[in-house]
Subunit: 140 residues, 2 copies
Amino acid sequence: MNMFNMADKTFLTKRQLEVFVRRERGETLAEIARALGTTRSNVCAIERAARKNIERAYRTVRLVESLLYESVIIISPGTDLYDIPGLIYRRADELGIKVRMSGPMLLRFIVEQCAERLRNREVLREISVAIDSDGNVSIL
Amino acid sequence: MNMFNMADKTFLTKRQLEVFVRRERGETLAEIARALGTTRSNVCAIERAARKNIERAYRTVRLVESLLYESVIIISPGTDLYDIPGLIYRRADELGIKVRMSGPMLLRFIVEQCAERLRNREVLREISVAIDSDGNVSIL
DNA sequence: ATTTTGTTGAATGAATATGTTTAACATGGC
DNA sequence: GCCATGTTAAACATATTCATTCAACAAAAT
């Protein structure tokens, strides 16, 4: 049991919450380390973990909302990599959304995120791309 | 490595996302189990885990926003009185909050509320200023 | 120049999470 | 009754996270 994170309500540990709040108040790593009886580097690590979890929570919420409220584009195996930006722009146009990425940026993004689903220019496994109403593109 | 959750972006594993999306589309446990090569009860468990993670992500976001949006600014001894409005505006900007007081109004407000913590232009004892999400400023 | 402050990487033990199987149970439709 | 559907609990192996320490480094403040 983790007696510190009562009830699994959030993704922040009691320790992470304590450090996060104190840091937001402007306390220094050394002050917090003294108060919690540990080291600066440990407090630093805990803060890093807290912010990572917060970022992940935001991304999770955005992902779920994009699934529930926005558009998902399914890119089938066999599609040519270079056709993907066009597919995304076309769908965005249909929805009246301006994509916040240029064509080349989109290409690089896809390659980065889906390297293992591509071979040269060919899509091997289905790729699901979400566009939210702000024009943010994400891979599901 | 968890080959299922590319890149630690969210709190949903690939499996959880797949099950969640299919369920949202109305697919039945048995259908999904067949498609993923496993059992109904397993799909059920995965869906439960997915929804638990989503709920936790929402709670995390709400917790963090409640911490950030009712923000407390600590003004340390030694601060120049005339720097205080700037500190408050900067923090408000970071939070995307518009302060409902002009600079001179803020100054007069501070002087009125904290006379005994000031000597001429210098802050003698720490002052805690709160801004709420409506931009209202108060001394704690 | 020294101290404070924040960061990073590696390593570690303990705690949690994940996906899985199997067996059982409840409900509603036909 | 029979079947499809959804749920639950126990148990398990593997994977991941958490807090921690220690050593080292860079930047900023004193």
